[in-house]
């Protein structure tokens, strides 16, 4: 099975995430779309890991460790990001990203 299938799937998932970030105004949905993009990249990295393992490289497992660290960072990022969104909601009673214009002044 060609690895291109996985590349195309990852690109499609990534672009759906980009579209979500551009099309929505709810900060939580935008955050979820960022998670979707992260996962598209993770999937591609795992596919490349298998590709190089099948080609005989002995250190192909490093890519999976890298994906593991991306998951670690994503978990930390979600904790802090959701705390920020909750704080914004508490101050303005909305999760609309246009509210964040107020940070300008």
């Amino acid at each position: 099975m060609p690895v291109q299938y996985y590349i195309f799937l990852s690109i499609a998932l990534f672009c759906i995430g980009v579209m979500g970030v551009l099309m929505r105004r709810n900060a939580i949905i935008i955050f979820m779309c960022v998670e979707l993009m992260l996962n598209a990249v993770n999937l591609l990295m795992v596919a490349f890991s298998k590709m190089w393992a099948d080609a005989g490289r002995v250190d192909a497992g490093s890519a999976q460790i890298f994906v593991f660290f991306i998951m670690v960072v994503a978990a930390a990022e979600v904790a802090v990001g959701l705390a920020i969104i909750v704080m914004v909601y508490r101050n303005s009673h909305s999760v609309d990203i246009n509210i964040m214009n107020r940070l300008k002044n």
């Binding site: 551009l22 998670e35 298998k50 802090v80």
Partner: protein, 167 residues
């Protein structure tokens, strides 16, 4: 049709993950978006199993479906968001976003269509098993592993400080 079982499973999982990813973006109700994203994450875990990354598949389900999405669901239900009060962008901005994303998709697909790479073999290998990954992690990547624990600690402190009610 000379399709192998692997390709059939790949096709089914891909269709489900793309449809549910579109559901995340297009659904009006935030709770539906979260549920669609959970379905996407489960199909991605299925892809991981197909790619001999068994440990990562389990970690992915535990971390994403078990922790992150529950956090999202908690926050959405805490704020009592629903389709009626969902903020909507103006229509032309939505079309502009969809067209830009689609153009990005077309460019990337066109750029990588002709790329030549080694194929994925149907057999399985054991790089994704926990013993091999553990050896790699604790031999080559001990320092990043320890740094990530500091990252978690600071993220936890940061989340508590930000989320605390000031009085």
């Amino acid at each position: 049709m000379g399709m192998s079982l692997q390709q059939i499973i790949f096709g089914v999982l891909s269709v489900i993950s793309l449809v549910s990813a579109l559901g995340v973006v297009l659904s009006k109700n935030p709770v539906t978006s979260v549920l669609c994203l959970i379905v996407t994450f489960f199909t991605i875990a299925g892809h991981y199993i197909m790619l001999n990354a068994q440990f990562l598949a389990v970690v992915h389900i535990i971390v994403y479906a078990g922790a992150i999405m529950v956090l999202f669901l908690f926050v959405i239900m805490l704020m009592n968001l629903n389709a009626e009060i969902e903020p909507q962008k103006r229509n032309w901005l939505k079309y502009a976003g969809a067209i830009s994303g689609g153009a990005f998709l077309v460019v990337l697909l066109a750029a990588l269509r002709e790329a030549s790479m080694p194929a994925l073999l149907p057999g399985s290998n054991d790089i994704g098993l926990i013993s091999n990954l553990g050896k790699t992690l604790f031999n080559q990547y001990v320092v990043p592993f320890e740094v990530s624990s500091i990252l978690f600690l600071s993220a936890m402190v940061g989340a508590v400080v930000i989320g605390k009610k000031e009085n």
